[in-house]
Amino acid sequence: MARASGAFSKRVVATLATAVVASSLLAACGSSGGSNSLTVYNGQHPQLTQAIVAAFEKQTGIHVNVRTDDGIVLANEILQEGSHTRADVYLTENSPELMMLTQRGLLAKLPASATSQVPAKYDSPTSNWVGVALRVSALAYAPSRISHAQLPASVMDLAQPQWKGKVAIAPTDSDFVPLVGAVIATHGESAALSWLRGLKTNASLYPDDESVVAAVDRGQKDVGIINQYYWYRLQLEQGAAKTHSRLYTFPNQDVGSVENISGAAVLAASHHRSNADRFVAFLVSPTAQRILASGDDFEYPTRPGIAVNSAEPPLSQLNPAVVNVVSLGNDLPAAKLLQQAGLT
């Protein structure tokens, strides 16, 4: 026993020594500031952001710290941090969060060097953010369970009783709230609420779009509401031969296939303003837009004249519904409806 205690005391000393070493390590890696650096709050997919950040760091020598989370979670953090925020750039998947932060006065005006690079319809009306990528909401379906002919003409149909138990959705994914915003903008609030109530009855809830498309691919559900690129990523990941699901975009510019703008902004409280402006301008530069279009991201570039990944059809062929960024709003009414419908 005495020997065991001795061994234990030695272990205490050893662990405490480790802790001391660790604490100095902690101090070393905890501080990531410095004048030639930049902090990006990243709501975009980490694989895309990492590739663009690497190219930016190589070109400019500016070190970029990235904090990745859901776009709405990060917008919440920025709201809570207010003027203290350490974020210099906010990059997110959908425009409503950017509109909301603009309305709260938390975003700086962007220089023309950034905004002039993409068509005005993909930019903030007030020059507070710039569109970086386009994505279209769509339906993944399992041909083993449902034929193409049986697919609904409109996403609104999925609230009908015949779809009970057949639908997969991810209401807490940051991409779902903007879709609700688009439905509100197109059909009005009360129609949107009854649509959500129908989905609440019909759909199985998944934590995010990745698990929705994976579930449909495994044949667990007939259809799942996602953005188009999730399906292409799944196909790339597991190979076309092993991918059993198919992708369907709603016809006739139905709101189910609405175009969403992923954008970036510089925070008004940024202490690295010029670095931040450079980064945002870089996001819409030919270099970054090519990384976005040719890699395994499958979003569409906002910059004209960049060829898209050949695995998917060009955006014009999808003929998506287009909702003006101002009418698409700021996520708040959509979030409220999600609560009222009992989906969150």
């Binding site: 272990r11 205490v12 480790t18 390590l25 395994d296 999600l338 969150t344």
Partner: protein
């Protein structure tokens, strides 16, 4: 004599530091209420007065009821077999049966959901949670069976009662209060988990709170939901405390401790019992380890890049967890000393009040600290120091439990003897007190380290920018839904970090506290 007189002085320093520590530990409870109050009670009510909240409540209650029942049956049965019968290899089983509870809930659930689509929703949650949590019943029941008065069982068997009847009418009844206390620990764990239920697509308050953060632009909404979660947890903890007190009375009667004769099992019964235990260990421990190994070998690629490499995730995890373990151990020492050396009711109450921390789920700790630092202490916001403090706070009760026995052994008498032999106070502390406290301090450090290294929920909310721990990087892959191969090395590392030391520690505890009814194994609280 002068030394003894000095001892009787009121312990100002210990008391003041203990009160400060207790206040810091309970701060999250206050902060959640403050945040909800700031968002306005009418808004809070609007959030809570929804059928959705009723659904969450129903989901929580029905899961708690079924899992607790199944865990109680499995845990009690397994404890009786390993403690009271002549089951072959029972010492080894006794240790292996404990391990599933230290494997992180989100790794265990992932191992099931990554291969079986059907394991989700209520049934999936019942399966995975039962296999994860039965050790919380097994451990205290094993202790109760070990320290029970064997005379009653022997008398009952002498009167011709069957084996089953002896088990039910004597062994289980003697340990009723212990069993109920264990059941409430199971409920407490179920209330705090997030990752597992997200994996299993079963909605509870924790998944709903994260859902609110992902869709709503008012942190007040999440804190309103937290209020309900904390209220339920406190209610359960209160019940647990009541039953633990009763459980103690049952066990500490003036029993003559004597060696229990294991009940012999006939050939058929022995085979049946052994098959049951092997099946349980295979499902609860073998299966998850096997699946993680399978995904390691299949080694599928992922489009998702690691924000940090496995090595750096291990580095951050070890650094944060080691610091948290050192901090929690240092904070627990004065509280444990006060309770052990000044046996007054208020000192005991102070010690007991720290266990309220067990009823504060990680998501609530995380939200409370985000609120505190973003409003009032911005220099600590998203800092490594804050994450370390959060871990120390959450796992403080583990440190306290682990060092209690050692602190009792390091009696002031021994220090006085040391002083009377002419040694100075520093020399006495170093050469008498520290060696006696050593095992307790080491155990406290280990328990906190192991728990912090596999913490997910609070870490997701508090992790510093640019950092990924093993748990958060694993979670990033697990959430992708297809990157099983990429997630596997992180899962394997977390299992190695939790299960291997837990195996060694429980062997050590098993050896040390065998036959000591007051030595409630600290593993019991290790979730």
């Amino acid at each position: 004599m002068t030394v003894a007189a000095g001892r009787r002085r009121f312990p100002w320093v210990l008391t003041a530091s203990s009160i400060a520590i207790v206040a810091a530990l309970l701060a999250p409870l206050v902060l959640v209420v403050v945040q909800a109050a700031q968002s306005g009670w009418s808004n809070v009510w609007e959030v809570l007065d929804r059928s959705y909240v009723a659904t969450l409540l129903w989901n929580t209650v029905r899961l708690a009821a079924v899992v607790t029942l199944l865990a109680a049956i499995i845990g009690t049965g397994a404890a009786w077999l390993t403690e009271r019968t002549a089951l072959p290899g029972r010492r080894l089983w006794a240790v292996l049966l404990i391990i599933p509870v230290v494997i992180p809930d989100f790794v265990l659930s992932w191992s099931w959901s990554s291969v079986f689509d059907a394991v989700h929703g209520f049934n999936g949650a019942v399966l995975v949670m039962t296999l994860h949590l039965y050790p919380l019943i097994y451990l205290p029941m094993a202790g109760a069976f070990r320290s029970a008065d064997p005379g009653q069982e022997e008398a009952a068997r002498g009167l011709g009662l069957s084996l089953w009847r002896v088990w039910w009418r004597i062994s289980v009844r003697q340990a009723r209060a212990t069993l109920l206390g264990g059941c409430l620990l199971v409920c407490l764990a179920l209330l705090s988990y997030y990752g597992a239920f997200e994996n299993l697509r079963y909605q509870t308050f924790t998944t709903a709170i994260f859902g609110e953060l992902q869709t709503q632009f008012s942190p007040g909404v999440a804190s309103s939901m937290s209020l309900v979660l904390v209220a339920i947890s406190l209610f359960v903890l209160g019940g647990e405390a009541v039953f633990r007190e009763r459980g103690r009375v049952d066990r500490t009667g003036p029993l003559a401790q004597r060696a229990l004769m294991p009940i012999p099992l006939s050939g058929f019964r022995k085979a049946l019992a052994l098959a049951g235990i092997v099946a349980l260990v295979a499902l609860a421990l073998g299966f998850p380890i096997g699946i993680v190994g399978y995904w390691m070998v299949v080694g599928q690629s992922s489009g998702l890049p690691a924000a940090v490499s496995l090595g750096s995730a291990v580095g951050y995890t070890v650094a944060y967890s080691a610091l948290a373990a050192a901090l929690a151990t240092a904070l627990a020492l004065p509280v444990a000393m006060l309770a052990a050396r000044h046996r007054r009711r208020w000192a005991a109450a102070l010690e007991r009040s720290t266990f309220v921390v067990q009823a504060i789920p990680g998501v609530v700790v995380g939200l409370a600290l985000v609120f505190l630092t973003s409003r009032y202490l911005f220099s600590l916001y998203q800092s490594p120091e804050l994450l370390v403090a959060a871990y120390a706070l959450m796992f403080f009760p583990l440190a306290l439990v682990a060092m209690t026995a050692s602190v009792l052994r390091a009696s002031p008498r021994l220090e006085e003897i040391g002083r009377s032999l002419g040694k100075g106070p520093v020399a006495v502390r170093l050469r008498v007190t520290l060696p006696l406290l050593g095992p307790g301090l080491a155990a406290a450090f280990c328990f906190v380290f192991l728990s912090a290294a596999t913490e997910l929920t609070a870490t997701l909310l508090l992790v510093p920018t640019g950092v990924q721990t093993l748990a958060t990087q694993f979670w990033a892959y697990a959430e992708e839904g297809v990157s099983f191969g990429a997630a596997a090395p992180y899962a394997a590392t977390m299992i190695a970090l939790s299960a291997v030391p837990a195996y060694l520690l429980s062997r050590w505890y098993d050896h040390r506290f065998r036959g000591d009814p007051s030595g409630r194994s600290a593993l019991e609280a290790l979730t």
